[in-house]
C-alpha cells in the first residue's frame, strides 16, 4: 500500500462524515419544515373553508332577508289585487301601496292578462319610486309589449311566484334590477293578472362586492342563466354568462367546466381551480328561489401567502444554517487536514531529529571506559538532552600522553543549539590537534565563533589538557561552571570565568593550571545539573552535587549516582535543560603521589591566605616540623607578595603560579608569573644591623626568603615568565 492511498483513505472518512452530517442536517430541517408546512397548510385550508362557507351563509341569509321581504310583500298584496280585479280603476293602488309600504321595492305593476278587460286590451299601471314620491306610469305601451316579457310569461306558465333574470333598468338610471312576479287570479279562479315587485339589486352588488374573506378574495354572483350579477370585473357584469366566460378563457379546463355546471345547477360546494399556474379555491352556494349562485373566490396565495412568506424566511434561515454547517464542517475538515499534515511533518521532523541526535551522539566518545588499556585514566561521561538533540557537548582524546578534554554548553536548546554544538566540537578537534595550550585553543575557537555569529549564540566552554605523565593540568575556562576537583576533599576548581565563546572576538583568555596527584579526579558538568528543577522550582544546586561526589566510586558509578540523585530530586518535573557530565579520575603512572603540587593565585593580596593550607598539606605529607612549615609559609608569602604587588601593572590581573616539587630530601618551590621582568634576588639585602631610625621599611621580605630557603634563583623564561625557584633542604 502506498502512502498516498493511506492518506486518501484517511481523508475520506472525515469527508464522508462531514457530508453525512450535512445531509442529515438538511433532511431534518427539510422534514420538519415540510411537516410544519403541511400541517399549517391543512389548518389554513380548513380555516379558509370555514371563513368562506360562513361568509356565504351570512351573505345568503342577508339576501334571503330581502327576497323574503319582497316575496312577503307581494304575497300580501295578492288578495288585494285579486279583490281589485272587480274594480280595475283601483288596481294601480295595489302597485302604489306595494312600493309605498316596502322600501326594498322600487317599482310595482299589476299587469292584466291581455283581453281580461274588454275595454283595455293591455292594462298595466306601474308605480315607481322617484325619490320620496311615487310616480304612476303605464307599461301598456305598444313598444314595451309586456305580455311577452319574462316576468309576465313565467308566473303564468308555472302558476307560481317567479324571480326574473336580473336586468339593467334602462328607464330608471341604469341600475341592476330583478323582478318578482306572481299570478293573480280573480274570484272565479281565472288567471287575471301578474303582480310584480321590482327590486333594485344595488344593495346586492354592494353586499356581495363587499364580502372580503381575504384582502384579495372576491365574490361572484351568477344569475339563473349564469349571467354575472356581481363580479369585480365590471365589464362582465350583465354582459356575459359564465358559459360565455368559460368559452373565452385562454386555458379552459374540465374543472372550470364542472364548476360552471355545478353553480348553474344550484349546487353547493368548493373546488380548487388551477388557472395559469395559480390555484384558487372557489366556494359556491345557491340562493334559494332566485336561482342565483353565489361564490367566493380565494386565491391560493391568499390562504397560504402568510405561511409561504414565513416558509420562505424559514427556508432562508435553513439555507443559511446549512451553509454555516457546511462552512464549519469544511473548516473542521481543513483544520483536521492541516493537523494531519502537521502531524506528518512533525513525525518526519522527529525522525530527522532522531537521526540528527544519533549523528550528534556519534561525534562524541560514547564508549566507556574509553581507554580500557590505560591504568592511569578512568573516565565516564553522559549527556542527556532535554529535547531530541543536545546543545551540550563534551569531548576528549589522548595525544602524546596528554588527555585533551572539553565540556561545553551552547546557549539555547534544540536544533539551533545542536548545530552550534556540532560546530564547536569540530572546532575543538581541529584547533586542539596541534596545540597543548588550552587558553590558545579556546582563544582560537573564540575567534572563529565570534567572527560570524549572526545569531548571537554563545557557548560556555571548559578546555583542559592533562599531562598524564605528571598529573599537571592546564585549563582554560570560557564562562563555564567551575568543575569540581576531588582530592582528599571536594572543591570547585579555581577558575577565571573569562567569557563564553562567540561573544567578543579578540578576547584574551587566561589559562590556569593545577597539579593532580594520583587518585585525584575532576568532575565537569553543565548547568543542567546544578540548575535541575523540581516541581517546586527548587534547584538541585552544587551542594547536592558535592554530597553525592563525597563517596569515592568508579567514574561511571559516580555519574550514575549523580544522575540518580538528580532524577530523585527532580521527580516528575520535566527536564528543562540538557544535562552533561564528565568525570576524569587520574592515577599517576607510579601509582603514587606525583610529588608535585601547584597553586595558582590571582594577583591580589587576599590570595596569600591560600598559601598556609598549601604549605600545611605539604608539611603534613612530608611530616615537617611546624616551625619549618611556618618559615616556609613565611618565605613563600614574602616571595608571592612581592609578585602580587609588583609583577603586574596596577589594575591588571595575572596569575601567580606556585609549584611545589616534593623530593625525598628537598622541597622545590617554583614561583612564576607573566608580569614584567623582575629579579628579586638582585635587590641588596636589607641591613639588619641598622638601628631603628636607620631601618628602611622595605627589603625585608626577599631578605627573609633568602634566609629561610637554601637556594633562591631567578630566571626570565623564553615565553616571558618570571621564574623564581626556591629550594629548601629537609
Amino acid at each position: 500500500m502506498k502512502l498516498k492511498d493511506v492518506d486518501r483513505k484517511a481523508l475520506l472518512r472525515p469527508a464522508l462524515a462531514g457530508a453525512a452530517l450535512v445531509i442529515v442536517a438538511v433532511l431534518t430541517l427539510e422534514g420538519t419544515s415540510i411537516l410544519q408546512y403541511v400541517f399549517s397548510q391543512k389548518g389554513l385550508k380548513e380555516e379558509a373553508s370555514l371563513r368562506a362557507e360562513s361568509q356565504l351563509e351570512a351573505t345568503r341569509n342577508q339576501i334571503m332577508d330581502v327576497i323574503d321581504q319582497a316575496e312577503a310583500a307581494v304575497r300580501n298584496s295578492i288578495w288585494l289585487a285579486s279583490w281589485c280585479m272587480e274594480v280595475p280603476d283601483s288596481l294601480h293602488r295595489v302597485a302604489e301601496r306595494l312600493v309605498e309600504d316596502n322600501p326594498v321595492i322600487i317599482g310595482s305593476t299589476v299587469a292584466l292578462v291581455p283581453g281580461y278587460f274588454k275595454k283595455f286590451p293591455l292594462y298595466a299601471p306601474y308605480a315607481l319610486r322617484d325619490g320620496d314620491s311615487i310616480v304612476l306610469k303605464s307599461l301598456a305601451g305598444e313598444e314595451y309589449d309586456y305580455p311577452s316579457r319574462e316576468w309576465f310569461v313565467k308566473p303564468l306558465e308555472t302558476g307560481a311566484g317567479y324571480w326574473s333574470e336580473p336586468y339593467i333598468d334602462e328607464g330608471g338610471g341604469e341600475i341592476l334590477m330583478t323582478t318578482y312576479s306572481v299570478p293573480i287570479r280573480d274570484k272565479k279562479g281565472n288567471v287575471a293578472a301578474v303582480l310584480t315587485a321590482d327590486l333594485s339589486l344595488d344593495w346586492l352588488t354592494e353586499l356581495v362586492g363587499n364580502v372580503k374573506v381575504y384582502p384579495n378574495a372576491f365574490s361572484v354572483m351568477l344569475s339563473r342563466t349564469g349571467r354575472f350579477m356581481v363580479c369585480p370585473a365590471e365589464t362582465l357584469v350583465m354582459h356575459r354568462t359564465i358559459n360565455e366566460f368559460v368559452v373565452g378563457l385562454d386555458e379552459r379546463s374540465k374543472e372550470i367546466d364542472s364548476l360552471a355546471k355545478a353553480m348553474l345547477s344550484g349546487k353547493e360546494g368548493n373546488m380548487p381551480i388551477k388557472y395559469k399556474g395559480a390555484t384558487s379555491y372557489i366556494y359556491f352556494s345557491p340562493v334559494e328561489r332566485t336561482g342565483w349562485s353565489m361564490s367566493i373566490v380565494i386565491p391560493d396565495a391568499e390562504i397560504f401567502g402568510g405561511v409561504r412568506r414565513i416558509g420562505l424566511w424559514v427556508k432562508l434561515f435553513q439555507i443559511l444554517g446549512i451553509l454555516m454547517i457546511v462552512l464549519i464542517i469544511r473548516s473542521v475538515f481543513i483544520s483536521s487536514l492541516k493537523y494531519r499534515a502537521m502531524n506528518a511533518s512533525r513525525e518526519k521532523m522527529e525522525s530527522e531529529l532522531q537521526i540528527a541526535s544519533a549523528i550528534q551522539m556519534a561525534m562524541i566518545p560514547k564508549i566507556f571506559p574509553p581507554f580500557p588499556e590505560r591504568k592511569d585514566l578512568d573516565m565516564a561521561a553522559t549527556i542527556v538532552p532535554a529535547k531530541e538533540v543536545s546543545g551540550d557537548l563534551y569531548d576528549f582524546y589522548i595525544r602524546e600522553e596528554k588527555l585533551i578534554f572539553c565540556i561545553g554548553d551552547v546557549s539555547g536548546k534544540g536544533v539551533p543549539a545542536s548545530l552550534v554544538m556540532a560546530v564547536t566540537r569540530s572546532l575543538f578537534r581541529s584547533f586542539s590537534a596541534h596545540d597543548f595550550g588550552p587558553a590558545h585553543i579556546v582563544q582560537t575557537m573564540n575567534e572563529s565563533m565570534s567572527a560570524d555569529n549572526a545569531n548571537n549564540m554563545f557557548v560556555t566552554f571548559f578546555c583542559g589538557v592533562l599531562d598524564l605523565k605528571n598529573g599537571h593540568l592546564k585549563y582554560c575556562n570560557a564562562g563555564h561552571n567551575a568543575p569540581f576537583i576531588l582530592t582528599d576533599k571536594i572543591a570547585e576548581l579555581p577558575v577565571k570565568s573569562n567569557i563564553p565563546l562567540g561573544v567578543i572576538p579578540g578576547f584574551k583568555f587566561q589559562e590556569q593550571e593545577v597539579d593532580m596527584v594520583s587518585d585525584d579526579a575532576i568532575f565537569l558538568y553543565t548547568d543542567g545539573l546544578n540548575e535541575a528543577e523540581n516541581i517546586n522550582h527548587e534547584l538541585f544546586g552544587t551542594d547536592r552535587v558535592k554530597a553525592v561526589l563525597h563517596t569515592r566510586r568508579g567514574s561511571m558509578e559516580h555519574l550514575n549516582a549523580v544522575d540518580e540523585a538528580v532524577r530523585e530530586f527532580v521527580g516528575d518535573a520535566p527536564q528543562s535543560d540538557d544535562l552533561t557530565m564528565l568525570f576524569i579520575h587520574y592515577t599517576a603512572p607510579d601509582g603514587k603521589s606525583s610529588g608535585k603540587r601547584s597553586l595558582v593565585l590571582d594577583n591580589v593580596i587576599a590570595e596569600i591566605s591560600k598559601l598556609a593550607p598549601f604549605v600545611e598539606s605539604i608539611a603534613d605529607e612530608k611530616g615537617l616540623d611546624p616551625s619549618l612549615a611556618m618559615s616556609l609559609n613565611l618565605a613563600l608569602e614574602e616571595a608571592a607578595t612581592n609578585v602580587i604587588m609588583y609583577a603586574y601593572p596596577e589594575g591588571t590581573n595575572g596569575p601567580v603560579c606556585l609549584d611545589a616539587v616534593i623530593g625525598e630530601n628537598s622541597l622545590e618551590f617554583i614561583l612564576s608569573d607573566k608580569g614584567k621582568p623582575f629579579d628579586p634576588t638582585a635587590k641588596p639585602d636589607a641591613d639588619i644591623t641598622l638601628g631603628v631610625e636607620e631601618r628602611g621599611i622595605g627589603g625585608l621580605g626577599i631578605f627573609m626568603v633568602k634566609n629561610i630557603m637554601d637556594s633562591v634563583t631567578y630566571e626570565r623564561s623564553e615565553d616571558g615568565k618570571n621564574i623564581l625557584t626556591m629550594i629548601k633542604k629537609i
Binding site: 593580596i605 587576599a606 596569600i608 591566605s609 598556609a612 611546624p626 616551625s627 611556618m630 618559615s631 609559609n633 613565611l634 608569602e637 614574602e638 607578595t641 636589607a686 639588619i688 644591623t689 641598622l690 638601628g691 631603628v692 631610625e693 631601618r695 621599611i697 625585608l700 621580605g701 631578605f703 627573609m704 634566609n707 629561610i708
Partner: protein, 101 residues
C-alpha cells in the same frame, strides 16, 4: 587577626591574636593608627596569641617603634613564641625591641 587595645595608666596594651600576615596587615595598621599617632608612654605588644608574622607585620612593629621613639615612648614586645623569635632574630628585630616573656 584580632587586635585588642587596653589602656592601663600611661601604658597601652595591644593584644594581637592570630596570624599577622600580609593579608591581615592593612587592618592591623588601621586598628593601631590611634596608637601610632599618640605613641606616648609605654606600648606593650602582647604577642602571646600571635602565631605568625611576616615582613608586613614586622613593618607595623617598626612603624610603631619609630613613632614611639619620636614621642619619647617605649615599645615592649611581650611573649613571642619561638617561631616568631626566630623571625625577629633573622631580621635583626630582636635588637630593635625590648622583648619580654
Amino acid at each position: 587577626m584580632e587586635v585588642n587595645i587596653t589602656t592601663k595608666g600611661d601604658s597601652k596594651v595591644v593584644k594581637l591574636i592570630g596570624r599577622l600576615d600580609t593579608v591581615a596587615s592593612p587592618d592591623v595598621t588601621k586598628a593601631l593608627e590611634p596608637i601610632i599617632e599618640d605613641a606616648t608612654g609605654t606600648i606593650i605588644l602582647d604577642c602571646s596569641e600571635m602565631t605568625y608574622i611576616s615582613s608586613s607585620g614586622l613593618r607595623i612593629f617598626l612603624t610603631l617603634r619609630k613613632a614611639s621613639m619620636a614621642k619619647g615612648g617605649k615599645v615592649i614586645v611581650r611573649s613571642i613564641n619561638n617561631d616568631i623569635r626566630t623571625v625577629f632574630m633573622m631580621t635583626g628585630f630582636l635588637n630593635l625591641f625590648t622583648i619580654e616573656d
